[in-house]
Amino acid sequence: MTKRLFGLSLLLCSALPVLAQIEVNTGNVTVRVLYKGQQMPYGCRLYFSSQTHGFGCGASYTGVTTGSFTLTESHGYPFPPINFTINAGQTTIVDVETSSVVGVVSGLVQVNGQIPNPGVAILSTNEDGNASTDGTGRFNLLALAGPGTGSVIGSYSTLATFPFNAVAGQTVDVGTISASTGNVTVRVLYKGQQMPYGCRLYFSSQTHGFGCGTSYSNVNTGSFTLTESHGYPFPPVNFTINAGQTTIVDVETSGVVGVVTGLVRVNGQIPNPPVAIISSREDGQASTDPTGRFYLVALAGPGTGFVTSNYSTLATFAFNAVAGQTRDLGTIGSTTLNGVIVAKSGSLPTKQWSIRIQNTGINTAANTQLDNFTLVQTFGSGAGPACNAPSVTSTFPIAAGLLAPGTNVTVPVSINFGNCAPNARFTATLTYSANGGSATGTKSLSNQQP
């Protein structure tokens, strides 16, 4: 053990001199892009790079490996390469004087005949300079010598363009640049009212996207066309934005969109807090009110809705929206059963009636059963005390098993009609359930003869 420790110590001692020689020499570098000796007084978009770094309009790097480098203009503009050296522990400043290549374009911007608020952006089509207007509407744009095009940029789009011919080292005034803007509001309506329920429809014009009721101000004037972005069957709407005015574009949806309503119960209770309802198509969304009811706008036609809470889906339901109408889906998420008498056999006084129970919902009905069956006489000789109440001799509940959506099962019910006449008429009431009682149903069938 002692020998091993001694050997390790020797190894470390022999390696120390080598470790000491691994020394990285670094320095710092700053590139300053100047116009007539001053750091670019206006916005600058020129871009230079050396072998190791890219330099925008004045960028600094520390901890750069020492050595000799060459700075070049990255877009190929006519700047001669500049050689520079970074020395260990020192800061190298590299000045790029641009006045022999760059000039200043000056001008005045007016929007709708007025001086705009400061800050309207001015860009050159070449990636050379950018500027913004001051309190008097004036701008000074640095630009590479030669012809170019400037753009006045509003909040969302180009308001005006202007040509210029920049002269290296000089300021050229292009005069007044006039732009006109207006405002636009797109209102998504259902039967003339702003979408009363959540809406996820999305429209766009050539310049802007419009959700369900969006406004933009200081938009360039002109003629535009509004279209539905998802390809839903909304006809295009043409509109015009005039200088200094607000254009309201109404999109009436009731020819394309309907409303589906329903009740939501979570564990048999009104959901609290409310739960969200969304359509699988990007058309509508809603949430439940204090009674658990929701109203969901949806494109006409079949669709699927989701009841969601905390990003999880509680229930799924199918719907078929009808344009311009509201359709009630009943209670969402519950299994829907329907019963009916489909056959009668036997001879009086004992008869056997066949009851068909159908799962008309979209969820499976487990442990379906006929819970009860009653008859109330409504017509016929022997009615009243002369016709003893028919005796339903079957024992309830009568199991009907598992019912997948759209399937049915028929169960028999035995009845002793006693002394009731053949033409006596009854109202039969069927009561059925499934899923441990969470899904129930009742059906009354009138004019039933034995």
Binding site: K191, T261, D328, I341, S446
Partner: protein, 185 residues
């Protein structure tokens, strides 16, 4: 062989040929908030049996807009004889027709709602009002399904007949008084 197939085809039971259509055709009705409107019906029974309606279910009407009540089961007994057509227009007072829809007073103008009706009926060989009762050839649990829609309109402002009569009487009285005054002066 062909004869055998033809004979078998002829022996197949024919489907009950019956149809129920709402009046107005298409089932679209409209009314003002607070009003009661409804549908008539035409029941065409081409079957050689008595058609008896046993239940009506609606699913789809927006409860905010109003409530539906059927007349063909809950109010009346609807039986149509073999190969017969029964037509009944909506009459709220007599409670005739297919059913009524009471529009809630607070329903929004322009709102619309629709429903799919499920009507169950039986086809009975013997007259339900006769002495014989059910027959092995009876068919039970048959159904019609169709749509009805309700639209809430603004009050059109058209005066009712009673208002027209009262106004006319008033004008006649006024004219008579003017004439008397002139004659006496």
């Amino acid at each position: 062989m062909k004869k055998l197939i033809l004979s078998l085809f002829l022996l197949l039971p024919t489907l009950p040929a019956a149809s129920l259509t709402l009046i107005p055709s298409g089932g679209a009705i409209s009314g003002t908030p607070g009003s009661t409107i409804g549908w008539g019906y035409s029941l065409d029974n081409d079957a050689p049996a008595y058609l008896v309606i046993t239940s009506v279910l609606e699913s789809g009407f927006d409860p905010l807009l109003g409530t539906f009540q059927d007349f063909v089961v809950n109010v009346n007994i609807t039986i149509v004889g073999p190969n017969s057509i029964q037509t009944q227009n909506f009459d709220q007072g007599l409670q005739q027709g297919f059913g009524q829809f009471v529009i809630n007073p607070g329903a929004l103008i322009g709102a619309a709602t629709g429903s799919t009706f499920l009507v169950n009926y039986d086809l009975l060989i013997n007259d339900p009002n006769g002495p014989l009762g059910s027959n092995p050839g009876d068919q039970y649990g048959l159904e019609f399904t169709f749509d009805g829609t309700v639209t809430v309109n603004a009050d059109s402002g058209v005066p009712e007949p009673s208002a027209i009569i009262l106004t006319s009487l008033g004008l006649l009285c006024a004219a008579w008084r003017v004439r008397r005054t002139r004659a006496s002066s």
